[in-house]
């Protein structure tokens, strides 16, 4: 998929002599030759990528995908562009895989600025030795996620790196969305007194991945929350057009998202420990490893700042959607301590929630 490959073969998987619909190389692995740009590269594109990701734009196989946005622009829409590199170990984890993440991560970044996600580009850096069946499975998951999120993959590229020089698979996606006229989310709108809402439970993704990580694995009913938030946020913005600002609390968790909001808007934020939604199994896993659910990654949650008078509507709207069932108001914007997030503890104490520095390391005991 260099640019978009020029070749007019059918996009469906090849069938072997026996009529088996599976790719014909199910015991094979990706080799450096697959990245050479020749027949093997074309093979990979035709048997792995096009069947999963194909759409009219991609199938035209030009050097660049051409997409129509004239009508949106005519209505005052603006382009939103976001890019995200996705690496995760293991590649498949409870509740998702790098395939879904590569779509959800970029789609949700678009959604946070109020954009309707439309197109993706995808770059795949594949480590030599990755089984082709595994690659097919991951790309198929990616294709399904893209369809569910309403985005078309309109350009792509693959490179193969030597064994030991990649981590199985890395996927870089760039997303293009349309911000409809009239929507202007951002820090400038945030006011003291606003309500701070989170759309569901915290820490599910990070702990699900950690639970299956090599040498740290533990058994628990943990599932990633990886999900596209376009519908949930569209519903929120329709019901609550005065919504000030949105963030997805991915890496660095809620602590990072709230600190970013407080810094960007030059306001203080106060949250209540007792209000924070954390599944008991996530809380228990965090305690076991000495991690703070506030700093653990989410991949299907949104933090929303809304005017206090709209908070009830916003919550009702979020809770009406399957991805927002556990939405809850966790705190408020305050005029004091601009740039700082404070937390009222369950036992009546207080502390500050700093911006996390790096990845948390599990503790000894």
């Amino acid at each position: 998929m260099s640019g978009t490959a020029r070749h007019d073969a059918d996009a469906s998987p090849r069938t072997d002599a026996g009529g088996c619909p599976l790719p014909h190389h199910d015991r094979e692995v990706v080799t450096l030759a697959h990245g050479g740009g020749g027949a093997l590269t074309r093979d990979l594109i035709e048997t792995v990528f096009l069947p999963a990701l194909g759409n009219p734009v991609l199938l035209r196989r030009e050097d660049a995908g051409i997409v129509e946005i004239a009508s949106e622009v005519a209505r005052g829409g603006r382009l939103a562009v976001s890019t995200d590199c996705h690496v995760v170990q293991p590649l498949v984890f409870p509740g998702g895989s790098i395939g879904e993440l590569a779509v959800h991560g970029t789609v949700n970044d678009l959604v946070m600025v109020g954009a309707a996600p439309r197109f993706l580009t995808a770059g795949f850096v594949i480590e030599e030795g990755l089984p082709i069946t595994m690659l097919s499975g991951l790309v198929a998951r990616m294709g399904a996620a893209a369809r569910a999120a309403g985005v078309a993959v309109v350009a792509g590229d693959t490179k193969v790196v030597e064994r030991g020089r990649g981590d199985g698979l890395a996927i870089v996606t760039t997303g293009i969305g349309i911000v409809p006229g009239g929507i202007a989310l951002g820090a400038a709108g945030v006011r003291a007194g606003d309500a701070v809402i989170v759309s569901g439970t915290l820490g599910d993704h990070g702990m699900a991945v950690m639970s299956v990580r090599e040498s740290l694995g533990f058994e628990a009913d943990l599932v990633s929350d990886s999900a596209p938030l376009h519908e949930l946020v569209a519903a929120l913005l329709a019901a609550c057009p005065a919504t000030r600002m949105l963030r997805d609390p991915t890496r660095g968790g809620l602590a990072a998202a709230l600190n970013e909001i407080a810094t960007a808007a030059r306001v203080g934020i106060e949250i209540d420990e007792a209000a924070l939604p954390v599944r008991p199994v996530v809380a228990a896993a965090c305690e076991m490893l000495g991690l703070d659910p506030l700093t653990v990654a989410n991949e299907g949650k949104v933090v929303a700042v809304v005017p206090a008078e709209s908070a009830a509507d916003a919550l009702a709207t979020l809770r009406a959607h399957p991805l927002g069932r556990a939405a809850v108001r966790i705190g408020r914007v305050v005029p004091d301590h601009p740039g700082v997030v404070s937390l009222a503890t369950r036992v009546g104490g207080g502390r500050i929630v700093p911006l996390p520095i790096g990845a948390d390391l599990p503790r000894i005991c």
Binding site: S215, L216, F218, A274, P280, A283, A284, L289, G290, D292, V340, S342, T345, R346, V347, G348, G349, G350, R351, I352, V353, P354, I357, G358, D360, L361, P362, R363, I364, C365
Partner: protein, 363 residues
């Protein structure tokens, strides 16, 4: 979690706080021994809800923090060897030695792995028969039993490619060193509940008498800590100094017999240096003669190299309660978790890190 909920209950916490406030008539200095307790106090903000007369001192119970530079330097030297797969608990990876930390060794090509248990290292040794797997065995009486069991299995399974760099330490000798040190006045101890769940708390009776200070065995939830503080204050106000168990749901009189038996078979006491404190007699464990061939020091002999002394870092004073983290001139300035000068800023159990993560750095 419903098991824990009562121990985080706001009403109970407020009632205990009120009771402590009613009981106290004079200033008292109470030291919580374990870093996990420090973390819980600071995270919940309890230390600031206590009546002004009660000052909490943070103790030396952070195993990562007290591991001496020489031992970390040795770990770094072993981890750099090409044939070695070096396994460590997560929070040890960033603790600075003289020349970098384990994460730095990993970044430069060393095979350094984070594990949650010495048994994971045992599994790794079986999976990587061509590698020399080394486990960095740190921790108090809490983690020592797992090391002992892994050592026994190493022996009984005939595993030849696993060894242990042992830096285990014991709590009671450290308490004694603090009581006898000139710089710190500790009126009462909250003993580390999880250590006592292994050793039992009977031996603390004798220590309380000898030291002349109350020792209350404490848990790790806000209500556990408040109840233990309340009991310590009641004793102090009454002029008593006894050991008592405020964590009975985890700690028994005699402790965990299986764990003690494993330790007794594999380890013997030895003098050990504590980072920032100095050598404390009989405060560590080393392998008995029968196990010395799986000691990484034996397997990878190296001359003792001169280790740097960090001059700016005053973590030694922090570890014995002589200096509050936020009273250190480097705290939150030169020294943050991003650029730690000492181990107390690295570990999740270190008092300096606990203060930083609760946002107690000056702006």
């Amino acid at each position: 979690m419903s098991l824990v909920a009562p121990f985080r209950d706001e009403g109970t916490a407020r009632r205990l706080l009120a009771e402590i406030a009613r009981t106290v008539t004079r200033p008292w200095r109470i030291m919580e021994v374990c870093g996990g307790q420090t973390h819980a106090l600071v995270r919940s903000g309890i230390d600031r809800l206590l009546p002004p007369g009660i000052e909490m001192l943070h103790g030396p119970g952070c195993p990562v923090c007290v591991t001496p530079v020489e031992t970390i330097d040795r770990a770094l030297a072993i981890a750099r060897r090409r044939e070695v797969t070096f396994c460590s608990f997560g929070d040890m990876l960033r603790v600075p030695g003289t020349d970098g930390d384990l994460l730095g060794v990993k970044a430069r090509g060393g095979d350094v792995r984070m594990v949650a248990s010495p048994l994971d290292a045992l599994d790794l040794a079986a999976r990587l028969p061509d590698r020399e797997v080394v486990f960095f065995a740190i921790g108090f009486e809490t983690t020592a039993p797992a090391t002992a069991i892994a050592a026994r299995l190493t022996r009984s399974r005939g595993v030849r490619n696993l060894s242990f760099l042992v830096a285990h330490v014991l709590v009671p000798p450290a308490l004694q060193a603090i009581v006898r040190s000139a710089g710190t006045r500790v009126d009462a101890f909250l003993a580390a509940g999880h250590v006592c769940s292994v050793t039992g708390w009977h031996r603390y009776r004798d220590l309380a008498t000898r030291f002349g200070v109350p020792i209350v065995i404490a848990g790790f939830e806000p209500v556990d800590l408040l109840e233990a503080i309340r009991r310590a204050v009641v004793q102090l106000e009454a002029g008593r100094h006894e050991a008592e168990n405020a964590y009975p749901r985890a700690v028994s009189e005699t402790g965990n017999a299986l764990a003690q038996e494993a330790i007794a078979e594999v380890f013997e006491p030895c003098d050990r240096e504590w980072r920032g404190i100095g050598t404390i007699p009989a405060s560590g464990w080393r392998f008995t003669a029968a196990y010395r061939d799986i000691d990484a020091v034996t397997r990878f002999p190296a001359p003792a190299l001169p280790s740097a002394r960090l001059t700016v870092c005053r973590s030694g004073e922090v570890l014995v309660g002589a200096l509050r983290p936020d009273a250190c001139p480097a705290f939150g300035r030169e020294c943050t978790p991003r650029t730690p000068l000492g181990a107390t800023m690295v570990s999740g159990e270190g008092a300096c890190a606990a203060y930083w993560h609760a946002g107690r750095a000056r702006p």
